[in-house]
Amino acid sequence: MSMSRETCINILLALLLLAVPVAAAELGEPFYVTLATRVAILALAAVGLNIALGLGGLVSFGHAAFFGIGGYVAGILASHAFEMSPLVFGIEGTTSMPVIWLTAIMIAGLVALPIGAISLRTTGVYFIMITLAFAQMIYYFAESWPTYGGADGLSIIMRNQFPGVNTARPLPYFLICYCLLIAGLGLYWLLQGSRFGLALQTARQNAIRLSSVGIAPFGIRLTAFVISAMVVGLAGALFADLNKFVSPSMLSWHMSGELIVLIILGGKGRLFGPVAGAAVYVLFEFALGGLTERWQFFLGLVLLGVVLFARGGLLGLLAGKARHD
């Protein structure tokens, strides 16, 4: 079997994202390792959103809710473990990353279930607005809840633990995030090619067609919405540990917008679109953020260019039109 051009580009991107921080660590430049970790985590979040947006055509403007929930799960569990105070019902906090991840995934999924069930009664602009409204509710709740720092946010004193890995050092933590990104991409790839993915992508292309073969679009979309939120929740937990800090800004609509921008930039519905998008976004932020506070203005210009001239995003530009067999 010969590899398609897109597969080659994907492999190249994956290797590049691995090689740069390894080389940087070798050369004693931990800052670049942290930058690459940021790329990996944002890419994972965008891969999660891409399940809903890219495969299902669900333009959720509220996925920051799940990103923030993942972050707060990490922060809250860590703070209780640090203060050795029980959470609720005598449950202890924890500094174990695997436990935190699973909790973040579960809670993000549980919250996404009712939000999705209500939002998916609507379509188009109404869907965008209602997902935004839910996320804003959670944002204001976090901001006004003093127990965990309110608007000031919550610090994670020491990065949480992973068995056998020194997570305090940049490169090992990058490698953890990188592995989870690859796992997320693997999940996306499997879903895309599965029976579920076939139904989900048909719901995006032509919901009437899906209904008229006897598959109700609602259940398919809701499932995608929940899975998507779970992946974003995991990314949120990683993000909190990267920054050793979580605040309501992770829940804000800027964050939701940022995730959508990553996907549009990189290529909606393309496996590695979110990776390319996150890389370009973080590089822009780094390169221009130092020169001008208005770096987002230039990002906006690039985004405008992509939307007007390269609908398939960067991956569309590099690899051509998406192909289904």
Binding site: S194, I208, R209, S212
Partner: protein, 249 residues
């Protein structure tokens, strides 16, 4: 007496002041092709839409296999055994013809909540789907994105999709439209076989096809059925000749 597969009783559908369906009653019997003819805007598609669940009737009853279908959505009616095609082809344009049919095969198997096994290597989906494409004569075009198929090919694709559902009744809305003479001929042959799979409610403007295929014909004018009968009865019906077939027919 045999029970009708599909039974429509006193159906009405108003769009504002327009009576698009005006007290329509009709039946579809096992093994038959029941053609529904009528001039443009008579309300044929509107009737099909109500049966398939895309439109809600203003009043009246639709019974399918003895069961009142009020309150069932489109997907539920399809699962109950209604296989339809659309007047304007409705397909997933980015997917190949094969994938469009695979979707129907998997729906029929009731297995859309499988998340890992790749469809592209699932022979339990691909093989039955290819059989259906073969049957409508699209096998050679299986890998072409459905959006790039010709108008006529899309109609055939829709029929392959409907067939894959192994329905208990077919609803076809103008399947011959835009097929050309050869296309209509081979589709006429195909439809005449399909009546043995399940009865067909056939909306069609192509009178040669209708007269060749139909066991019964109903004539719809301004939302009302003005006559129902055999081909001979309809051909010689004075009101039908005046209202629809034209004086010279």
């Amino acid at each position: 007496m045999t029970e009708p597969v599909l039974e429509i009783l006193n159906l009405r559908k108003n769009f504002g002041a327009l009576k698009a369906t005006d007290d329509v009653s009709l039946t579809l019997m096992p093994g038959e092709i029941h053609a529904l003819i009528g001039p443009n805007g008579a309300g044929k598609s509107t009737l099909i839409q109500q049966i398939s669940g895309a439109l809600t009737p203003t009043s009246g009853t639709i019974r399918f296999l003895g069961r009142d279908m009020a309150g069932m959505d489109m997907a539920a009616r399809a699962r109950a055994g209604l296989g339809r095609t659309f007047q304007i082809s409705s397909i997933a344009p980015e997917f190949s013809a094969l994938r469009n049919v695979i979707l129907a095969v998997q729906a029929r198997q009731g297995s859309s909540f499988r998340f890992f096994r790749p469809v592209a290597r699932d022979r339990s989906l691909i093989e039955p789907a290819m059989v259906m494409l073969e049957r409508v004569g699209l096998a050679a075009r299986s890998r072409i994105p459905a959006g790039e198929l010709s108008h006529g090919e899309r109609r055939l694709l829709e029929i392959a999709i409907a067939l894959s559902l192994e329905p208990k009744a077919f609803l076809f809305d103008e399947p011959m439209a835009g097929l050309g003479a050869d296309g209509s001929k081979s589709l006429t042959a195909l439809l005449s076989e399909l009546r043995h799979v399940a009865p067909i409610l056939l909306v069609e403007h192509d009178m040669d096809a209708v007269f060749a295929l139909a066991d019964r014909i109903s004539v719809l004018v301004y939302g009302r059925i003005i006559a129902t009968g055999t081909v001979e009865e309809i051909r010689s019906h004075p009101e039908v000749r005046r209202a629809y077939l034209g004086e010279g027919a």
